[in-house]
Amino acid sequence: MSQFAQEGLADWAAPILAGAVTTLQIAFAAYAIGLLLGLVGAASRLSPWAPLRALATSYSTAVRAVPELLLIILLYYGGSQALTALMNALGVAGKVEISGFVTAVGVLAFVQGAYMTEVFRGAILAIPKGQLEAADAYGFSPMARFRYITLPGMLPNALPGMSNLWLILIKDTALISVIGFSELFFTVQQAAASSRAYFLFYSVAGLLYLLMTLTSSAAFSRLERYVRRGEPDISAQEA
């Protein structure tokens, strides 16, 4: 019994910090892929081609209507089976094994992409149509039009939603602990169970997540000020 009592925060500090780093890695990777999925999703939802539009709409609607935890468990257990079946159908024998990290990133990115699709769709629709037509009139290639008109035009509108999604993503990484991948919260659960200091370790977990979310919101508000540079200050006008 005394063995348990001696085990404290100091013994677990290193594993917990390593877990926090893993959590951040998962979050960054999932966010990056989610951004790409969101861009592709938004482009598909706004595409003139109906089947593509329907596909993107059902993706974003279905994923947003089902709880994240359920999706994570479902994709974790169903995903590798589905991939194995797919590979076998394509003539590749064997079983697909996915590492915990890849699953975690893949699942979170898949969910994140659905929400990001909606954020980007709204932001792109808010760009005045004339600006896009002007780019076409000047003979911009689609890539150049995206790089110089669409992207800078939509970023100010998309950033509040993107910042929200990043905060949700950081909090959603905790759900990965349910499938047994050792990120921050899974490590904390082990620490709490083995030291029996539940209150202490779950408070520490809460503080670490709080630190991440508060830092991120500060960073995002700076970023928002940057992408909105050159816009008239609305609050100053009202005052």
Binding site: P67, E68, D172, Y198, Y209
Partner: protein, 249 residues
Amino acid sequence: MDFSWLSDPYYQESLWTGLINTLVLLVVSAVLGFTLAVGMAMARIKGPRPLAWLASGVSIVMRGTPLLVQLFFFYYGIGRLLEGIPGIRESMFWGILRDPFFYATLTFTLSVGAYSGEVLRGALLSVPPGEREAGRAFGMGPFQVFSRLWLPRAIQLCLPTLTGEMILLLKSVPLVSTIAMMDLLQVANIIRDENFLTYEPLLFIGAIYLVLTILLTLCLRQVELNFPGVRAQARSGGWLSRMRQPRPA
């Protein structure tokens, strides 16, 4: 795909229990949470300074940490601390304090209170002060102004956001399966274990959630449309008229 377990009456009953537990938790924490949200929003606007600080602190912590961590904190952290207090196991409260439902409700209530409180605070602040002054001029007391004017007007302003919070709450309910509460996901996990299935029960639960989300969205749309003032505005062609075409007289 193997869905034969669906015909088993035992599993059918468990699934109904899971569904009812899910809905009870949703309704109880929504009602308590919105009540708390009103309190927290008012505490931050008009409350004495310590109370306002407390409300802001709770709001920041509940919105900045994962709900799963909060559930574990309350159920295992606080729960184990309470267990250690001498005499509490013999007291009449122990039955409640042992129940995961209690901790789930507590966590969800605080969470809804924090998120919706933030929304409501913004809405309360954007009700034009002239409307409240008009209430005072009509001889209403401060409480009457609040309950008949200020709060209803604020809710009118943020109703779509508040109903969005309800949908988010519904989607948070499966988290309670991690603290051993019999919600739909927990039932699905039991069925998976007992039948050596990997994903069929999860797909089934996913479909139930899809239907629940759609039903809840439709119900909340009705609430939005029937909220006092919305219809009148729709008829007079106000900003809410987009929500419903005016009825033929």
